[in-house]
Amino acid sequence: MYFRIIRNDILRSKVITLTTMIFVSAAAMLVSLAAILIINLSGALDTLMTQAKTPHFMQMHSGEIDTARLKSFAEQHKNVEEYQVVEFLGMDGSEIILGDHSLSNSVQDNGFSVQNEKFDYLLDLNGNIINVSDGELYVPVTYMKEKTTSIGEKAIINGKEFTVAGFLRDSTMNSSLSASKRFLVSSNDFAEIKDLGSIEYLIEFRLKDFSEIGEFETAYASAGLEANGPSVTYTLFKTMNAISDGMMIAVILLVSALVVTIAFMCIRFTLLAKIEDDYREIGVMKAIGLRISDIKKIYLAKYASLAAAGSILGFIFSLMFQGMLLENIRLYMGEDENTSLAVSVGLIGILLVFISIVAFVNVVLNRFRKISAAQAIRFGSSQEMKPGAKHFSLSNNNLFTTNIFLGIKDVLARKKLYATSLVVLIISAFIMIVPQNLYNTISSKSFIQYMGIGDYDLRIQTSSSAKTDDIVTLIDSDSDISRYAVLTTKTFKLKTSNESEENIKVELGDHSAFPIEYSEGSAPSRDNEIALSTINADELNKKVGDVITMVIEGKEKDLTVSGIYSDVTNGGKTAKAVFIDNSAKAMWTIVCVELYNKSLVESKVSGFSNKFDFAKTSDIDEFVSQTLGSTISSIEMASYASIVVALVITVLVTLLFMKMLVAKDRYSIVIMKAIGFTISDIRAQYFSRSVFVLIVGIFLGTLLANTLGEVLAGVLISSFGASSFNFNVNPITAYLLSPLMMIFAVLISTMIGTSGTGKIKISENIKG
């Protein structure tokens, strides 16, 4: 019997059933995909890091190195299992030519290494340790993805010819977040090219007990060992490897939460409408003695089968799409061995979706208890309905035309019903506007304030402090230049509260020349002052006015925190001070330049680039877009995608609701027709219903986007190091184009959704 009831019901409302099923299967698909991706990612990541024997602790260091001292440290420390110093031969991108492509525009620090003997292996795409022969070059897998080169092509490194023998996975530097990329060559070849670049050392440790990494780090820092460069732990390698796919999974989870909500809303709406439709039948069933649970079963059966069909479909889709989304994980980390586990976790996810839908339907159906059999049979409709907005009556209405009035009145009278579509429209407006605002903020020129950079035109960066003077001499005599400042970044030891030491990068120089915005306090102006980036301040637990102790020129010195600023560069961990230091070696120096005539920026940049071939000269806008380029473009993509998603949701849901409403309101429609309202009058009423709900939805959605959305985006941005985040809104796209697109989508779908009104026959729906 259930089957027949379900079949008839589905045949009678094809569009509605289909739309609901689309949302259910989309929800199921996304949940399943997220589950599959999580299992694959963690599995593949573990496999990669196990096979490659990723170091537990790695200190990058440029400059002199005392291997004997390091060796004795490693031997004496009880927790060290293995230790090695790896040479990384950094080379300018312009010296590396792969096939037809030069890497001169690459933002990566490209360099060469030989295969390691003990751990931190470079693996081929099958997960095996690569054995490289003379004349062969293995290229980081990133360049395979970017299609920069392919196997068998010639590569020219600083004039020496190699053959690209394959691609490599590098468990420490795979990630796009890691600025360095390692190429693999044979020991003989490495020896040949060794003098053509600058050597950086990777001091690597494997520990017996990784859980004591904190103590090890402290011990390393306290021993005063080589530390001119960043240090990374196993956990951070893992995070960096996981982050881009992890972000994707997070986004999928977020979207699936949204779609599940929408699926629930659709089900609630169709179910409420159906109950109202079947009111009399339900009353009759109650009257003849069927128990509520029996009546519920009929409805549950329909939605359970709909949810089951949607879930199965969603599962099939997720299996179809998983390949596409797993591509990146497979390329960078390799195949996960546990595919069957992933699929079964996906199934569990889908089962959860299914169960929650059935439970939800069950809750909505509890309304049956409130239906009085007597009332249902006598009136054929719910008498508990309290028409809302009583004072809003036609006889007092001078504001709207009758059709608009009737549309708005209907919305106000049936708030609960329209609340459902309102929620969906709010969500749509929200997901349309937030990514757009985020993109607009990040891509805007004022975002520079979050990068700890002042307002200047171009920057010249060099790691050779000796040559800085050449730059300064030339710039000082250049009449096009209005102002300049030299900022040198050095690493210092910082005494932490528990008497151990940490490294901190401090940018020294005149910070008043090109001031940045301080979220608290102000720029350091005296020798004993320092400004900290937000992340540093948080990690050190320091506020403005607090004192930190640093080791400068061998002596401990107290510095007062004068200000805190946003910085998303260098991992967000920077500091600024003005004191003079002659002991520590400069990591890099930046000459900030402001021109009288802004139109000269381009020619100056190319002029300085030629003159200072040892330095990197960049236009500040270009610098920003290079540093944040990939983030900006992926957020841009996401903002377009979310516009499309929002519009699709809007169209589908409006279509669904309009179809439902027309079916549900047949009786009111024929009354209108009978007393002389035309079909266009009636459709005008439906248009005003949807536009009224839409306007409220857009308003609330936009409000929410600029409050809650801003907070959410702020949380995201602050994880990169920016504080006191505010949206930079483009009012034309956010407040004009987006609403217009939504209105257009709603109008079109209302038009389609109400096209059935003309076909409703008076004689068939009115009981004479």
Partner: protein, 253 residues
């Protein structure tokens, strides 16, 4: 000689298709004069409601022709039909056909409000007068579920009268009411008719039909007989009912 308002010629309307096709109206010809008070009787399924729906342009016909005030309404479009229904016709149905969202007053003024909101005050005034006339003054702000069936039917009549129609169609307008309410409603119809508005009632109640001046009897989609009565003056209702029942027995309805 009375002027003819509605002329229906050889109206055929069928439902279903193929072997199951059935003519609900099987070549019906009918005329209704201005200011006339007519009724249609017949057993269930005889086609009397369908005839009313067809004559009022609410339902299309398959063959034949319907002329209303000189206009062939079987050939005009939906919008034109809506305009005719709104301005020249009024409808009262068996079940009260009111919009749930609106109060009684708003339901009554609804057909007059289309594209006419500048005159709201005047329209509302008229509605109140009509409500007083049919005895439901004071119910203006009530919801439709807060009044009785008889009161709702009176409100329906008010709505039908709002645009000063030439004719009021009533499809079993007293069918859902007790006999006291039914007679009160019929008194209102008589009064409306006395003021010059034509009325066409579909009923299977001889007591109702007996108050009209011409009764058409239908069976199997055809008008099988007609009975003319003098205008009802409030007297001898029993004699009129007797005449009607005798006629029904004669033709076997």
């Amino acid at each position: 000689m009375m002027k003819k308002m509605i002329i229906g010629k050889n109206i055929v309307k069928s439902y279903g298709n193929g072997d199951e096709q059935r003519n609900v109206l099987d070549g019906v010809s009918v005329e209704i004069n201005e200011g006339e008070f007519v009724s249609v009787m017949g057993p269930s399924g005889s086609g009397k409601s369908t005839l009313m729906f067809s004559l009022s342009g609410m339902d299309g016909i398959d063959r034949g022709k319907i002329v209303f005030e000189g206009m062939d309404i079987s050939a005009v479009g939906d919008n034109e039909l809506s305009n005719i229904r709104r301005t020249k016709m009024g409808f009262v149905f068996q079940q009260p056909t009111m919009l749930k969202n609106l109060n009684i007053l708003d339901n009554i003024i609804l057909p007059s409000m289309r594209g006419n909101r500048k005159n709201t005050a005047k329209i509302t005034e008229k509605a109140r007068a009509l409500m007083k006339r049919v005895g439901i003054a004071g119910l203006e702000k009530r919801d439709i579920i807060q009044v009785s069936g008889g009161q709702l039917q009176r409100a329906g009549i008010c709505r039908a009268l709002m645009n000063n129609p030439k004719i009021i169609f009533g499809d079993e307008p007293t069918g859902a009411l007790n006999s006291k309410s039914a007679h009160e409603i019929m008194d209102i119809f008589s009064e409306i008719n006395a003021n010059g508005t034509a009325c066409m009632l579909v009923t299977h109640d001889a007591k109702i039909a007996a108050r009209t001046e011409r009764i058409m009897f239908m069976r199997d989609g055809k008008i099988v007989s007609e009975l003319k009565l003098p205008k009802f003056d409030g007297k001898d209702i029993d004699g009129r009912v007797e005449t009607v029942t005798v006629k029904m027995r004669d033709i076997g309805i």
